[in-house]
């Protein structure tokens, strides 16, 4: 970052301009924040009781922590489920058998195109009507919807992970007499899985964020708990800010882990370890030249 290719190392005039620019930009940002604060102050949003009620021990014990526990529980189940789903259908898409490949392709493309919220609402209403033996129906609907969507994304990661391995890996497997299926299982998949681990960790961020959609079907996750708290205390701004900060910290930590993993694992596989961007569909981004631009310095220098 110190030596960007986009601008020269600055001389005296450039440095002076930079200082001026820094001051102007900082003042502008601060002015914006002060203006925001004054608007909120005028509306009485800095009254101590609103904030105290949003961060009190009671709020944490009765609302945030149980909510966070439910959020993490659904994310955990959804992650395990979507990894299994993803590996199964990823292998399906690489299968030698045409119908298997075709069916897996349709399933994966379908669930990647349908909004998670639609699936969640549908499964919730479906379970309520058809499967009342399920005790915690909102939880089941959240997990199923998250598994179908994120599992399909992971299936694509598996497929692109195997596709991005050097050709020689598969050829070597065939050359020593393994069948194509054996080559996939014992040579290509293990390397592809290692290569896609960072992208999977990034996908965890998506799972966690999407679990907040559970509020639509009355699943008492973190966001819904905060809403219940705020309807009692009349402090939605304060409660939502607290919840957003909790999400940001957890997701930011996950992103850091993904970053570290990518660097750590790059020596363990012939594939390229790239993290997804954490939005809906990281595969195409990950397949693109995120880390390895054409020039040797192009990747790191500009960012």
């Amino acid at each position: 970052m110190s030596a960007s290719v986009l601008f020269d190392a600055q001389g005296p005039r450039g440095r002076a301009l930079s200082v001026v620019g820094n001051i102007v930009a900082t003042v502008a940002v601060l002015a914006g924040l002060v203006w925001l604060a004054s608007v909120l102050y005028a509306k009485g949003q800095f009254s101590a009781s609103l904030w105290q009620n949003a961060v009190s021990a009671e709020a944490w014990q009765s609302y945030y922590l149980p909510g966070l526990q439910n959020t993490l529980r659904s994310a955990l189940f959804a992650t395990v489920g979507s990894v299994l789903f993803g590996i199964l259908f990823g292998i399906g898409r690489l299968s030698q058998i045409r119908p298997v490949r075709w069916v897996s392709g349709v399933v994966v493309e379908f669930f990647r195109a349908v909004p998670v919220l639609l699936m969640m609402i549908f499964f919730y209403m479906f379970f309520s009507a058809q499967a009342q033996w399920i005790a915690d129906r909102p939880f089941a609907a959240v997990v199923v919807a998250l598994v179908l969507y994120n599992g399909s994304v992971i299936a694509e990661l598996v497929r692109s992970g195997v596709g991005n391995l050097p050709k020689g890996q598969g050829e070597a497997g065939l050359a020593v007499g393994l069948t194509p299926a054996q080559t996939l299982r014992s040579i290509q998949l293990p390397q592809a899985l290692v290569a896609m681990l960072p992208a999977m960790v990034s996908q965890l961020v998506v799972v966690l964020k999407d679990s907040a959609l559970g509020q639509f079907i009355l699943y008492s996750e973190l966001l819904r708990s905060a809403q219940i708290l705020s309807s009692r205390e009349q402090n939605p701004l304060q409660a939502l800010v607290v919840v957003a900060i909790v999400f940001i910290i957890i997701n930011w930590l996950l992103t850091v882990v993904a970053h570290r993993l990518a660097r750590l694992l790059s020596s363990r596989t012939a594939g390229a370890t790239v993290e997804g961007t954490g939005i809906g569909n990281p595969t195409a981004v990950a397949g693109g030249p995120v880390g390895g631009g054409p020039g040797p310095g192009a990747g790191g220098a500009v960012v």
Binding site: L6, E109, L118, M119, F122, D210, Q215, L223, G288
Partner: protein, 229 residues
């Protein structure tokens, strides 16, 4: 079977399914426009020579990329509308619509910024060096040399962001936009629970029909526009 078809036809006569999709398309269109502008400015900030701008851009992306969209859109309704009593128009529906557009744009701008940055990474160092060598300073170099190529390299990730935005526009229900698809689907299932699978598949298919062409167009565009090197 006839009963099924008759029930289905009646449902479609009673509820405006295409109208609901049209609301989502409008949400997507305006939010895409706004987030493209905001995201480009953010990307420019993040590669600029001024440290505080870089810092502000990074902070924005870190904050909004890691916040669930549902929180942002719930915020527009519960906080901006109810608690702070802000309004964008005389009619409630229009106010909710534009709050939802702003919420969607603010969230997706972070991803647009990252997509453009990944496009910037496809531009070889030599291009930036050449721009400097002929005496262009940062802004002209970015505007004339780097960004035109970066946008062409960013078409695929921008297309993914657009697809995500279209699907995420259903979350506008949290911002109290009650005419969009997820709300309508819920109403229709409550009205005819016996047809719920068919209703879900109809809406799902609607999204498949919208999403797959966007994917095909952006993939072929990204190939056609890619700078041959």
């Amino acid at each position: 079977m006839d009963d099924f078809l008759a029930g289905f036809a009646e449902l479609f006569a009673r509820f405006d399914v295409l109208g609901a999709f049209w609301v989502n398309i409008q949400l997507t269109f305006w939010a895409a426009l706004l987030s493209l502008v905001l995201g480009t400015v953010l990307a420019l900030m993040r590669i600029s020579p001024i440290a505080s701008l870089r810092w502000a851009g990074t902070a924005y992306v870190t904050i909004f990329r890691n916040t669930p969209l549902t929180i942002i859109l719930t915020f527009t309704y519960l906080v901006l509308f109810s608690q702070l009593a802000l309004s964008l128009s005389d009619t409630l529906d229009t106010t909710f619509f534009w709050f939802a557009v702003i919420g969607l744009a603010v969230y997706h701008a972070a991803f647009v910024c990252e997509a453009i940055r990944s496009g910037v990474n496809t531009v070889p160092v030599g291009q930036a060096e050449a721009a400097r060598a002929i005496g262009l300073s940062f802004l002209p170099a970015a505007a004339l040399v780097i960004f035109p190529q970066a946008f062409r390299g960013a078409v695929a990730p921008l297309g993914n962001t657009l697809i995500a935005l279209l699907k995420n526009s259903t979350v506008a229900a949290a911002a109290s936009v009650s005419t969009e698809t997820s709300s309508l689907m819920r109403t229709m299932i409550e009205f005819r629970p016996d047809l719920m699978v068919a209703i879900f598949l109809t809406f799902a298919l609607g999204y498949v029909i919208l999403v797959i062409p966007i994917g095909l167009v952006t993939t072929s565009l990204s190939r056609r526009l890619a700078v041959k090197r």
